[in-house]
Amino acid sequence: MLWFAVHLPWLSLEAFAAALDEAQRRQPLALLAEHEVQAVNAAAAAAGVRPGLQRATALALRPDLQFGQADERRDAQALQAVVHTALAFTPAVALDGHSVLLEVASCLRYFGGADALLARLRRALQPLGHRVRIAAAPTALGAALLARWRDDLHQGPQRDDLKALQRLLDEVPVWLLGPGRKHWEALQGMGLQRLSDLLTLPRAGLARRFGETLLDELDRARGTRPDPRPWLSAPERFGARLELAQRAEQAEPLLHAAALLLQQLVAWARARQSRVLAFELRMLHESRHRAGAGVPPATALRVELAEASVDAAHLQLLLRERLARVELPAPTLELRIDCHELRRQAAPNAELFPNRQSEQAGLQRLLERLRARLGDDRVLALQAVADHRPEKASVLVRAAAAPAPSLSSSSAPSLSSSPPPAAAPQGPLPHPAWLLPEPQPLAEREALPLFQGRLLQLLSGPERIETGWWDGDVATRDYFIAQAADGALVWVFRQRLPVRDPAQPLWYLHGWFG
């Protein structure tokens, strides 16, 4: 067995400070739990503020000290993200206080050794923005103790050797043991500083005085007692919330906060070995504004991806374009991201040189970006339909999410594959490439259409189209190819029966031969 313990000594503070901006983070900060300082940042520590002080004492030391409220839910959510990141590496992950324990012996070979795995783990944890201490040991609790104790124990002889671990554990201060912390003063009074001091005492007396759990934990850390652990797993649905430090009305601070949640979302998706298909960002509005003027309690923004992704930067880019278009009815105090739509598939291979597949993926990303900013119905594909009316012979549909080649075969009436492109350039083109959205009426003189003040010369035609009587949109037209004054070819038609109104124009311009 080889255990990595990832200890997060400043988890609560970092989870609180994540919602703050850079300048605020450098101010002295302290987290309060029941009027008592629980954690402080470096600026506050420099002024002498220590955990355990009363609120008033801390304020006396540093009058401009900023306070935050400790929040166990917030801590748990931040810890959850670390657990999810770890789950991407090994299915054997357990929690011990603010330490995440990973059993990695079974996946060392896959990741190319403990050092390579460690480097990958650190890299994966980096976007979450926590300072971590990692230790490695053959027992779970041993690794956790070492991680809490010192920063440099991720390698060394204790990683593989139980005897070395036991020697090292002898030096560990006794208060790092969970139950030991409760009896810390009593143990200190008895002159028991290190774990080795405990071992020299008679076990029965020690158990009677401090409880069975102290010895039990000591034995599990030293590997003399089995230490089975329930493995954690990533939940089916992802939900994370973030309370903003101040009211946000603009997209930019919202985006900054949402970036944090997106990192957690990506960690969750990675833990499930899947990729995100769609997620929803909810911006909860201040209750003060909710009462008036029918402001909804929250504004929801659903982001759907054409191709599943676990790239936080890409998700953020999409969210940025979407947020830029959203008008918030009221300031936002809290963000929530929910997601349950994942696609389980192997991650695409990274390629050194661009190939067709990576190109297709890149194009999909481009289309997603365009869609996010311009709107879903602005990115279109062209489809041919079996209809003789030119305005109905091709339709614009939303560009498919799937790779382009499958587009034409997807719907039944489509004919786009029927004219084989290979047999193309022989005969004359039957119809123009450009079709006006609406036929443009032309005046008539001497039985010929008038276009831009000149008579059009009809060169070819008529091509009679008489169809559509079944759907009420009957077209009875004679199409001609005509030449405009400058030599360009245009497509005109003469309305045949029924001409009810003599004032109705007879000739229409319908297309250009582009």
Partner: protein
């Protein structure tokens, strides 16, 4: 100290020094990327690099949409699609016809449109604002995964917009065409290749090379496009044009052609 003539003889010709150098009477060469053949041999002979340049903007100036621009570009676009890459149309001036494009050799599965108006439902929305259009075009150029781009841009644009697009185009591994109204001819442009298109007759296109990396071309190129007219109809059109030239009268007033409604 005199310089012997042998020294000059020993010097290499300037155009051999670096691919970015060429003499005023020569055509520039395409440096990084082979150009995409236009499908018209006469045109390829006059284009630097022997085709439509990749990684650069090509500006086409039209008197109005529909002079034959799609028929001119179709062979190159089909070649790009033949490589499995997509063609993107930005804000086309009218609705493209699927059947005609397929007949021109284009693959509809690899054709995408980005446009503001006439969405799927038929509800005519407004055209895209110029800022959005330029943004979308720049993104497409920068991403480098699109095969070929055609963008119909408004004639009035700040000059830095085109410069920005030209810079973005350097990441785009394929031809990028910007189509604008002829009014833009007088304005400077950052595109290294500019052409003015005009109809020269039935199924014929006159190409003026306004700007290229090479000597100016005095005569416009006349290209025969893939025909829209059948051979008899084309003959009739030419005969009519000759009659009109002979009559030297405004064509619409006197020599009214007979309505060619009998047959084609």
């Amino acid at each position: 100290m005199t310089v012997s003539p042998d020294l000059f003889a020993a010097l290499p010709e300037p155009e051999c020094l670096h691919p970015a150098l060429w003499r005023a009477h020569q055509l520039g060469r395409e440096q990084q990327q082979p150009a995409v053949a236009s499908g018209f041999a006469e045109l390829d002979a006059e284009l630097p690099g022997g085709g439509w340049p990749a990684r650069a903007l090509t500006e086409l100036l039209l008197p109005h949409p529909g002079v034959g621009e799609l028929r001119l570009l179709a062979p190159a676009l089909a070649a790009v699609q033949g490589g499995g890459r997509s063609v993107l149309l930005f804000e086309p001036p009218a609705r493209p016809q699927a059947g005609t494009l397929a007949a021109l050799g284009l693959d509809l599965g690899h054709l995408l449109l980005v446009q503001g108006r006439a969405a799927a439902g038929g509800a005519a929305a407004a055209p895209l604002p110029a800022a959005d259009l330029l943004w979308a075009l720049e993104q497409a150029l920068k991403c480098g995964h699109a095969g070929a781009l055609l963008a119909w841009l408004p004639p009035r644009l700040p000059p830095e917009a085109l410069r920005r697009l030209q810079l973005a185009a350097q990441a785009h591994d394929g031809p990028a065409f910007v189509l604008r109204a002829q009014a833009a001819l007088a304005r400077p442009s950052a595109a290294p290749l500019r052409l003015r298109l005009a109809a020269a007759g039935p199924d014929e296109l006159a190409l003026h090379l306004v700007k290229r990396r090479g000597p100016p071309l005095a005569q416009p190129l006349r290209l025969a496009l893939p025909p829209a007219l059948s051979a008899p109809a084309r003959e009739r059109a030419l005969r009519l044009a000759a009659e009109q030239a002979a009559a030297a009268l405004p064509p619409a007033l006197k020599t009214r052609p007979r309505a060619a409604s009998a047959s084609s």
